[in-house]
Structures are given as structure tokens and as C-alpha cells.
Symmetry: C2
Subunit: 155 residues, 2 copies
DNA sequence: TATTTGGTTCTTTTTTTGGTGAACAAACAA
DNA sequence: TTGTTTGTTCACCAAAAAAAGAACCAAATA
């Protein structure tokens, strides 16, 4: 297998795993993400993953399949070899982040719907909700600008 | 208990519950959040919650305790009564959203750390990571401005 | 053709989660 | 004092999630 990992590398992989787990990802998927981010080659074979993370073939197989469907990883093969070299698909991190931001903004839509069902018995509470909705609408509109302005700030 | 819920109210509570569940919250906590958002009174007693959501006392007790520690709900009592009236703490939704945005930005810190451990073997991959980090730094800096500009846009 | 390699699929096992219900405690009421 | 209301705690349980292990399969190789 590719060279063994240092303690600090293993530690970072673990923390990246826990982070992603808390974001709702399956534990092993988070670790694989971390591993592929930390390895100098930025890629790993099936076997590499099994040995570095100490997990079973089947677990890796299913995790990788899900991650490929989600477009988080892809693989290539090297001429002559049959092994697959899996790597992170870094091509669309902007889209991923955009999706996460929109996910946060979804509360606004629920609150909006709640407002249509609420009486005006508690006006102060309602106006809090109004305010929250308005912020979320504003926020959603700002998302594209965020990416645009970032690109501009680079040049 | 306080008046029974309509189908559309129950449906919305359920959807709010599922949403929060997917965001990592315990199922019952998400439902309670939804309930307190939908009830006209914007508050509910222990009993109300048990009856509206069909759950046990103990489940409600533990859920409410966690939610109080997290500062999501609070309670008051009415003069003469011993019952607690729980309500959503809407006072700091800005802070909550800010926290969520910073949570997203955390990947940037992991990637930053990964870069310090990585060799320069894969320069293209590394520069993707650099770019992601830079975006996250930019993003974090923009967060306060987002709230500020929203406030200004209202007046 | 037989064997090895690289990976998949299916069944079983383990672990984690979320919730229940009964016993308990504190506060008040009769 | 005894009983009732309001809520907490803890031991237990069911279901779901995650991983393991073995059988399997297809492609390459001997």
C-alpha cells in the first residue's frame, strides 16, 4: 500500500470524518473523504482505503458507490493496471457550498408557510417570523453575488 | 389541552421535524420546534406537547432539557399555575444562522490544515484546495456584512 | 481451462438511536 | 398527613444504521 500515515495525518482524517458525520454523512464516507484529502497522491485504491482505515471490503464498496453517485469521488485506472484509483472530485465545490447555503435558507420557507397558518394573536412573535423570512429572502439573493465578488476579488 | 391541530398544521409540523432531523437534530426536538412555531399561542405546556405529538413524558422532558441548554426554547409560568409554558426563543435567530454559516466555513479550516501536511506532489489538486480556503476566508469575512446590509436595506 | 485479482452483493452481526414506562422527587393542596 | 400535580431519572427495548463476512462474479492471467 501507499506509505503509512503519520499521527497528525491520522488525527486530521479522524476530525474530518467526525465533522462530516455531524453534517449527516455516513461515518466511513467522512473518513474516506479525509483520507483522499490527506494522501500526497490525492488518490487511493480500494486496498489502500481498506488498510488505512481498517474497514471491510464491503463497507468500502458501498461507501464509494454512494460517493460516486453523489459526485464527490471518481476513479481512474492506470495503463496496464486493473485497480481503480479513487480521487476527490474537486471540480464543483462551489456548487456544493451553494447547495448547503440554500439548505440553510429553507427554514425561511417553512416559517413563511407557518405565517400563512398563524392567526394574528401573537403579533410580536409573528413579526419576528416576518423578519426572519425577509432575511432569508435577502440571503438567498446574495448567494450568487458572494461567488461573483470572490472571483472578482482575486483579479 | 389547547385546541386541536388542522391537517395542514400537522403536516407542516411533520415537515419541519423532518427538515431539522436531516440537519442533525433529534426527531422529537424537530417536532417540538415545529409545534411551537405553528401554535397560535406560540407556547405549549408539557401536557400539550405530549398530546399533540403523541409521545411519552420522558421523551418530552429530555428533549426540552436539551433544547433549553441549546437556548432554543425557554419557559414561563402563569401566576397561580405550576405548569410551565414553553416557547421558542426567537431572540437570537441571527446568532443561530451566523453559527450555521461558520459551521459550513469549517471545511476551510480542515483544508487549510491538510495543506500544511501535504507535499507539493500534486500541485493542481493543491491549488484547488488553496482556492477553496481562500473562498472560505472571504466568506467568513462577508458574514457580518450580510446581516448589516440586511438591516440597512430595511430602512 | 484453472487461478488470481479487484470488486460486488447479500445475509448476519454489532452498535447506535430514540423512545417507553415505572419509580421517584418536589411542590402544593386538602 | 395524605394525596395530587408536574416533571425527572433510569433501566429497558425496538428499530434503524453501519459494518463485517462470505459467497459470488467478471476480467485478466497463467
Amino acid at each position: 500500500m501507499s506509505s503509512s500515515l503519520s499521527e497528525s495525518q491520522k488525527d486530521l482524517i479522524e476530525r474530518i470524518g467526525v465533522y462530516h458525520e455531524q453534517q449527516g454523512m455516513q461515518p466511513l464516507m467522512g473518513r474516506i473523504l479525509g483520507l483522499l484529502l490527506i494522501l500526497d497522491d490525492a488518490e487511493a485504491t480500494f486496498e489502500d482505503i481498506i488498510e488505512h482505515l481498517n474497514v471491510s471490503k464491503s463497507a468500502v464498496s458501498t461507501a464509494l458507490n454512494v460517493m460516486q453517485i453523489q459526485n464527490r469521488v471518481a476513479y481512474r485506472t492506470k495503463p496496464g493496471e486493473r485497480k481503480r484509483y479513487f480521487y476527490l472530485n474537486m471540480g464543483n465545490w462551489e456548487k456544493d457550498i451553494e447547495k448547503e447555503l440554500h439548505e440553510i435558507a429553507k427554514v425561511g420557507e417553512f416559517v413563511q408557510e407557518a405565517l400563512t397558518l398563524r392567526s394574528n394573536k401573537k403579533t410580536e412573535f409573528n413579526s419576528y417570523l416576518q423578519n426572519l423570512c425577509q432575511f432569508m429572502e435577502y440571503f438567498k439573493k446574495q448567494i450568487p453575488r458572494l461567488f461573483r465578488d470572490f472571483e472578482n476579488s482575486k483579479s
